[in-house]
């Protein structure tokens, strides 16, 4: 579009050189709109404000701010509220950033864009700003893969965190058959409240760390005296596994199920331990196991179900490694990276589809999955008294002067053209997949178990 616009201006100028009259009749053509780079000011946990100036012409139909957030494949385009009159104009846009909306460390590239009446655009220069947590003076230490940002505990704390992170990256990279090259940022908050400010109001109470693969960043809440606590050696590898998993399977078509992602994370950070084995056995005995398709998207909110979901996930991954070999895990990741369905990925890597894998896993655990509790149809509610009776068959044209009563009697007498709409809902039902799997690509929250 800009090329088109550019050609138009060029032609206008060419004609102007030949025909002097054009210089007097077309100031709009001779003067092009101009827009400068935005200035950005960050107020952490509040807003990022972009300001700038432009010289508008009567060609300008709209002014936009184009935002490219680090890790996002889509630009965000916001309308800038400005009076559209020729001449200089002050531009301003406020991007609200309350708790949980923008994570620290995110790079934001911004530029103003003028949309002209012919649909072409004039793009301004780009400004890049980092949304940083300015509440602290961050110290940093870099490992082989991980750059640690911390505020308390001293250099030894930072080095220990980097070592844990680097070791975890090596371990999971080997299992998934990938090589990490781009740096990974690891922010450690000593203060729990400050940490939860970053996560946002939707975070659970028991989160110790959270990975954001889209910006290759891990956040953790570790006090200065806790770096050698056993749980730290679990949380950091767990969350970093999600980052490497994302690298291994990344594709624009289909993201693997959550149980696989979490299962690998637990498997590598804790292994398939006694507590998970016990939970699996208990659930198998009680008949409370959930099928893997139930663990494709989010995990249960209730603590028991939440923990069982993790136990099932690591059990399935452990079964996969034990029965198909560690190489199968890398093959599975490679298959997913090719952008295939879950079933295709499992067939490519294991020689059996997801259903076959799940059956074998359940059989190995002596378990069966009971039918789901829902969905159920809503119980019927009140309806107007004259809404009972035969349908009126929407879309049908009765014969001339036919009378259609609320009771739905169609007296066209022909019997032609009737369409029984009562079959619509069953028809819709019949074509809608009844799976309960619901992987949402956009959801990349990773939560550690407390």
């Amino acid at each position: 579009m800009e090329m088109t616009r550019g050609r138009r201006r060029f032609l206008a100028l060419g004609f102007a050189a030949v025909a002097a009259v054009l210089m007097s009749v077309s100031p709009t053509l001779a003067a092009s709109p101009v827009v400068g780079a935005p200035n950005a000011s960050v107020k952490f946990l509040s807003a990022v404000t972009f300001t700038g100036t432009a010289t508008l012409t009567s060609d300008v139909a709209r002014v936009e701010l184009v935002l490219d957030l680090e890790g996002s494949t889509r630009s965000v385009v916001a309308d800038v509220n400005v009076a559209l009159k020729p001449g200089p104009a002050d531009l301003s846009y406020v991007l609200e950033s309350p708790s949980g909306a923008l994570v620290p460390g995110t790079a934001i590239s911004a530029s103003f864009r003028l949309v002209l009446k012919d649909g072409s655009t004039v793009a301004g220069p780009v400004t890049t700003v980092h949304y940083t947590d300015t509440r602290y003076l961050w110290q940093t230490v870099s490992g082989e893969f991980v750059r640690v940002y911390y505020t308390e505990g001293g250099a030894a704390f930072g080095r220990r965190a980097a070592t844990i992170g680097d070791d975890a990256i090596r371990q999971v990279s080997a299992l998934l058959g990938v090589t990490e090259t781009a740096p990974i940022k690891f922010y450690i908050y000593a203060d729990r409240t400050a940490f939860y400010d970053v996560l946002g109001p939707a975070a659970r109470e028991n989160v110790g760390g959270e990975a954001h693969p889209e910006i290759r960043t891990l956040f953790a809440n570790i006090g200065p005296d806790a770096i050698n606590d056993p749980w730290v050696g679990v949380v950091i590898p767990h969350e970093l596994t999600h980052l490497v998993f994302d690298t291994a399977v990344k594709n624009p078509y289909h993201y693997p199920p959550r149980w696989l992602n979490e299962g690998i994370a637990v498997y590598l950070s804790e292994s398939y331990g006694n507590s998970d084995r016990s939970a699996m056995a208990d659930a198998a005995r009680k008949g409370t196991l959930m099928p893997l398709e139930a663990l494709t998207g989010e995990f249960p909110t209730a603590r028991d179900g939440f923990l069982l979901a993790y136990s099932e996930s690591v059990s399935a991954v452990s079964f996969l490694v034990d029965h198909y070999g560690r190489g199968a895990m890398a093959a599975l990741a490679r298959a997913y990276a090719g952008g295939v369905t879950d079933d295709e990925a499992f067939k490519a890597a294991l020689g059996t589809g997801l259903v076959g894998f799940e059956d074998a896993w359940l059989k190995a655990n002596g378990a069966t999955v009971l039918p789901p509790y829902g969905p159920e149809n809503a119980p019927a509610g009140p309806a107007p008294s004259d809404w009972a009776g035969a349908p009126l068959r929407p879309g049908m044209i009765p014969a001339e002067r036919s009378s259609i009563s609320p009771a739905g009697t169609n007296d066209d007498g022909t019997g032609n053209g009737d369409r029984d709409t009562t079959g619509l809902i069953p028809g819709i039902l019949a074509v809608i997949v009844v799976g309960v799997a619901g992987g949402l690509l956009a959801r990349r929250l990773r939560r550690a178990r407390s």
Binding site: R74, M290, A294, Y373, P382, L392, P394, I397
Partner: protein, 532 residues
């Protein structure tokens, strides 16, 4: 993300079912930890219901155009007809109607004794006045296309005539006569749309703004109050079907960033849409599972091209883009548990959807040849193409296929006013999800793609398509309308749009809440709710 209402009849994106922080695309999903609060049976005398919804853009039937706003306006302003939960057309303000003149004249007979919530009479004049607002030349409804078969409506909306008497609408007492330019196969169904809700004279005659509690209503509820986080409705004791069973409806607009599941578990809402990602585990939860509801939706997500500007004004470019992508494959990979790949513009289950597949054939070699013939060999000469993704899940996948097969560059963008830009200056590529106003094929064909239709966002014009639609609408049986099949083929061959996904959604509804179901048109009828 917290759920918003599905949009209906009209622009709707799955993403907008939730209160997404679109400006950031980084809204954080929450799964608040949980005490599993089993929703206990409410007292029989319970008189209020809380429903999590998105804020409306307008309460005015003639202004709103998204299903979230239509949810509100439909509770306040009743149309003449309505679809029940089985998608059966029922009488609402009209007790019956006659069809005459080879189907070109429809006479609606209003119920006797109708009044607005303030006790003032509701007559045929209110119907005519309300419907003329839909085609107001100064501010026509975005869904005015639904009304274009009414004689003179197009001329009135375009300002070619200023006399409303030239529009085929007239009222005599409780009778409203509508004259159509073609047989009105689906007109009584069309006016069941919330767009055709009846507003009082203060609005249609005196020009009052439809705000929160500012005007009398004709629907089951009136506005009792509002705040930043809630709009409260109270039952209309003058409602034609009797006072609704639930006296107060608290329409919750915000749950402070919590997940809707958490809000439901805490008892803060009695009904809420949820994501398919949560539906999976909830189905196996002994407490929540029985309260899980599948929300039907006659909906279609589709990709559109702006066909009156380069490069997509060249049919070969559109055909190249259509042939470059394996659309079914991409949709299959992207579909959630509530979606299926689309095979045509008309969702399955709607008469006229046609048999077979109406997608462009996947043929990358042909795609490259067509693009070269159009003057862009290997994509050379094409500038980066803006794709207003509108929250479409498989946008990245589509871009990847196009870039790989054609050598083009696709720039994915999310607009803070996606629908507004579609109306005024659509990007070269865009997406939209549309949910039916009524269960008719034309709502997805003529309304979205007919020449000059207000909802033809890509400005496509095809005499063959228009002719096919005209033929289809003239038949007695839409299900057997050969014209619709011709229209579907015209879309497939000319590629103004590409159908992607059909599907609905999921909801959690309190176990003792009766009638909390939808019929595929995207709106929960509050007057149909009751506590067990």
């Amino acid at each position: 993300m917290t759920p918003n209402r599905i949009q209906r009849g009209r622009p709707y994106t799955p993403a907008m079912r939730r209160l997404v922080c679109v400006a950031l695309l980084l809204a954080v999903v929450g799964l608040a930890v949980g005490r599993h609060v089993a929703p206990v049976a409410q007292a029989a005398a319970r008189d209020a219901v809380s429903i999590l919804v998105g804020p409306p853009t307008s309460l005015d039937p003639a202004v709103e155009s998204d299903v979230g706003s239509a949810f509100f306006s439909s509770q306040l302003f009743e149309p003449l007809t309505a679809f029940d939960l089985s998608l059966t057309l029922r009488p609402a303000l009209a007790r019956s109607w006659d069809i005459a003149g080879d189907g070109r004249r429809i006479i609606f007979h209003l119920r006797a004794g109708l009044v607005f919530s303030d006790g003032s009479s509701l007559t045929g004049a209110d119907v005519v006045g309300s419907w003329l607002r839909v085609i107001n030349p100064r501010a026509p409804s975005q869904l005015a296309s639904l009304f274009m078969d009414v004689h003179g409506a197009a001329d009135y909306m375009a300002g070619r005539t200023t006399d409303p008497a030239n529009v085929g609408l007239s009222a005599t007492g409780l009778d409203v006569t509508v004259d159509l330019d073609r047989p009105g196969a689906d007109f009584p169904s069309i006016v069941a749309s919330p767009t055709f809700g009846i507003v009082p004279p203060a609005v249609w005659r005196d020009g009052a703004t439809v705000g929160l509690g500012t005007v009398a209503s004709s629907g089951g509820y009136t506005v009792a109050g509002s705040s930043a986080t809630e709009i409260t409705l109270k039952a209309n004791s003058h409602y034609w079907a009797g006072t609704p069973a639930i006296g107060t409806a608290r329409l919750v607009l915000s749950i402070a960033g919590r997940s809707p599941v958490a809000a439901f578990e805490a008892g803060d809402v009695d009904y809420t849409d949820i994501s398919s990602a949560d539906a999976g585990w909830i189905a196996y939860d002994p407490v929540l599972g029985p309260q899980l509801r599948r929300v039907q939706a006659l909906a279609l997500s589709y990709l559109g091209f702006t066909t009156d500007r380069p490069p997509f004004n060249d049919v070969r470019v559109r055909q190249a883009f259509g042939a470059a992508v394996d659309w079914t494959r991409i949709s299959t990979l992207a579909a959630g548990s509530d979606q299926v790949p689309a095979e045509g513009m008309v969702p399955p289950g709607i008469p006229g959807a046609g048999d077979g597949n109406f997608l462009p054939t996947h043929d990358p070699d042909l795609a490259r040849r067509l693009l070269a013939e159009a003057g862009y060999p290997g994509g050379v000469g094409l500038p980066p193409i803006q794709f207003a993704a509108g929250g479409l899940g498989p946008a990245e996948a589509i871009a990847a296929d196009l870039e790989r097969e054609l050598g083009v560059t696709i720039k994915l963008e999310e607009y803070d006013d996606h629908f507004g830009h579609l109306q005024t200056d659509p990007a070269p590529m865009w997406s939209l999800t549309w949910i039916a106003d009524y269960p008719g094929a034309n709502d997805f064909l003529g309304v979205l793609l007919g020449t000059g239709s207000t909802n033809n966002y890509g400005h496509w014009s095809s005499p063959a398509f228009d002719s096919a639609i005209t033929d289809a609408l003239a038949t007695r049986d839409p299900a057997a309308a050969e014209g619709f099949t011709r229209a579907l083929k015209a879309v497939r061959d000319d590629v103004p749009v590409v159908p992607l996904l059909n599907g609905g959604g999921w909801a959690l509804s309190h176990g003792t809440l009766l009638g909390a179901d939808e019929n595929g048109l995207g709106i929960l009828r509050l007057a149909g709710l009751a506590w067990k």
